[in-house]
């Protein structure tokens, strides 16, 4: 089909607009992370796309060095929130993936727990706010409040349905004859899972795990309610980055935001090869 030049021009304009809406805020964050405090709130002609005097002060600041006399040093640095986020999101992902994958395999292969999908839908339909208060009570009874492992546990529970559904689709799409061939060729059921199913599922597992990790990594609400001081996560800590003298600490927030973007991007690049295959796994006839 031949399109008119006017249509083509319009098409590219629309694509550019969509890209701008998506990418400019990210670009702005990157730029802001390197701006000195004097440029944070610049207006008019002083407002520039890129820092006039690029500096690492913002990064130094959130890790405890007061690079400027305009703001007082933070009483708590970003180090522990970063650690908290890494630990809780990682362990949470591990819990969700381990439980979700097992459940998905059992249901897909043996029809075990036939009502599970329905139960998981109900879990997702529940407004998170409605369950968070009871969860707070339970967690404080179990001494899990303000701990990264307590956070990891609830992250694992909340993202379990996603892990389950993604993995179930992948298992359903895997021809069962491949496992049966291994059974006939001398494997036990358990051995088939380790020798055949898991290796074949590497790509789908990686994609599902990345998806679940990003959900856990970007949680704010749960961490806000379940952590108070010791183990607050990056989003909660970021919200607290303001001072009574200067208001919002834009540069510091941008610097922290930039750091927060690193793990998902890094993971994404690491498993990129698998990601493409994983996300199209069901769409392609083998």
């Amino acid at each position: 089909m031949r399109r008119s030049p006017a249509f083509e021009a319009f098409r590219y304009a629309a694509i550019l607009l969509a890209c701008a809406i998506t990418l400019v805020p990210i670009l702005w964050m990157v730029s802001m992370a390197f701006k000195p405090i004097a440029e944070w709130q610049a207006t008019g002609a002083d407002l520039t796309w890129f820092p006039k005097e690029p500096t690492l002060d913002n990064f130094r600041y959130i890790f405890g060095e007061s690079g400027s006399n305009l703001i007082v040093a933070l009483d708590r640095t970003a180090a522990k929130p970063i650690l908290s986020s890494l630990l809780s999101a990682s362990l949470g992902t591990l819990i969700a993936m381990a439980a979700g994958t097992s459940a998905a395999y059992g249901l897909s292969r043996f029809g075990a727990g036939g009502n599970l999908p329905l139960a998981l839908i109900q879990l997702r339909l529940f407004p998170p706010m409605a369950v968070m208060i009871p969860v707070m009570m339970m967690w404080s009874f179990l001494n899990l409040m303000d701990t990264w492992w307590g956070l990891a546990l609830i992250y694992g529970i909340v993202t379990l349905p996603f892990a389950f559904w993604l993995m179930k689709t992948f298992f359903d799409d895997m021809p069962r004859e491949i496992e049966e061939a291994a059974l006939v060729e001398g494997c036990s059921r358990g051995r088939v899972f380790w020798r055949i199913t898991l290796p074949m599922m590497r790509a789908p597992l990686a994609s599902a795990a990345l998806f679940v990790f990003i959900l856990n990594w970007s949680d704010y609400l749960i961490a806000l309610l379940l952590t108070t001081r010791e183990w607050v996560t990056i989003p909660v800590y970021m919200a607290s980055l303001s001072s009574s003298m200067t208001g919002q600490l834009y540069g510091a927030k941008a610097a922290l935001g930039l750091i927060a973007a690193v793990p998902p991007v890094f993971l994404g690049i690491m498993i990129q090869r698998h990601l493409v295959r994983g996300l199209t796994f069901g769409a392609l006839k083998q």
């Binding site: 004859e177 491949i178 049966e180 061939a181 059974l183 006939v184 060729e185 020798r195």
Partner: protein, 347 residues
């Protein structure tokens, strides 16, 4: 070396009866074919023999030993699946080695057997490739090599060459027969292609909705089908089945030289047994509807009072579309079926 028997085996999936009270014995070293239309229970029978399914009723015996409760791994039967079921994350070589590795064979034994199987199936040059990099024919050879490599008591094959193109299929089935003879093992082969079944099988079983309708040598079944159903499954073009009134008596369109047995409801005539002659002015006529010259033979489709018959003639006869012809058949070449479709013997 194994004799495999079904004794009154029934397998149900919910309301569906996949295998219906089936009994048969496959002799040692036999090339046995399970043949029937889709969903007639062929694959389920293989799965029962493998132990991937358990029968609801009846017994399955391997060399006289009941195996109903024996796990697939312990039955020592090799299978080539319809979709081949190669392990996609392993190279061709790893695929073929797999059965031996899983059984804990010594590396020296594995190496020798691998070499042997690769040579037999001519896949030595593709062993380093992944299944996704192989052609359809190569994949299928790798799958057969994986079954062959470990010296099982019997081979099962579920329509393994249906995905190949016609020429490759013919080559492969000749080779399968050779491999089976050389290996000296029982081979149970599932197919829905009647030509394939007839050409490779020592004996075959004809299936209909999970039940076995006839067992025997292919030519015997072809010549003496037990029912109209069986008769129509074998042979291409399929046997013509006509109400008896169309063949004999005053209104008959086809001249039968002789009398049909009492109780005949339908008469079956193989396309190659219809004699087509020029119209001589007497009796009813058939009209030539279509002529398909195939080189060595010609398929002629005939319109007989609105009913289509097919005749297979040698060479390229001089028959033109829309002309009138007369049809006749020898009594000895016709098949007679009762009201229930059962075959009747000539008196």
């Amino acid at each position: 070396m194994a004799e495999i028997s079904f004794h009154n085996v029934t397998k149900r999936y919910g309301q569906t009866v996949a295998v219906d009270n089936a009994s048969f014995t496959v002799a040692d070293n036999e090339f046995f074919c399970l043949f029937g239309p889709p969903l007639s229970g062929k694959t389920t029978m293989l799965r029962l023999i493998l132990g991937l399914e358990r029968p609801d009723e009846g017994e399955i015996l391997i060399d006289g030993r009941r195996v109903n409760e024996v796990s697939p791994a312990r039955r020592n039967i090799a299978m080539v699946f319809q979709n081949l079921a190669l392990f996609p994350h392993m190279t061709a070589e790893q695929n073929v080695r797999f059965p031996l590795v899983e059984r804990g064979e010594a590396e020296a034994v594995i190496g020798a057997r691998l070499k042997d199987a690769a040579a037999k199936l001519h896949i030595g040059h593709v062993l380093h490739k992944m299944p996704a990099q192989l052609s359809g024919g190569e994949r299928q050879r790798v799958a057969i090599a994986r079954a062959l490599v470990r010296d099982p008591v019997a081979f099962l094959m579920d329509d393994p060459i249906s995905a190949l193109d016609a020429r490759l299929r013919e080559e492969t089935r000749v080779e399968l027969k050779r491999i089976q003879r050389e290996a000296g093992r029982t081979l149970i082969y599932v197919t829905h292609d009647q030509e394939e079944a007839m050409s490779v099988a020592d004996r075959m079983a004809i299936l209909e909705r999970g039940a076995i309708r006839q067992i025997g040598r292919p030519v015997d079944i072809y010549d003496h089908p037990a029912s109209a159903y069986v008769a129509q499954l074998l042979g291409a073009p399929a046997m013509n089945i006509l109400p008896v009134a169309m063949v004999q008596g005053g209104g008959g369109v086809i001249r039968l030289e002789g009398l049909a047995p009492a109780g005949t409801a339908e008469i079956g005539i193989r396309p190659e047994d219809i004699r087509v002659g020029a119209h001589d002015g007497h009796g009813a006529v058939a009209k030539v509807w279509e002529v398909e010259p195939l080189g060595g033979t010609t398929v002629v489709t005939l319109d007989v009072g609105g009913r289509m018959l097919r005749a297979l003639m040698r060479g390229q006869p001089d028959i033109r579309v829309a002309t009138a012809v007369t049809l006749s058949v020898d009594l000895g070449r016709a098949h007679f079926f009762g009201a229930g479709g059962q075959a009747l013997r000539r008196a």
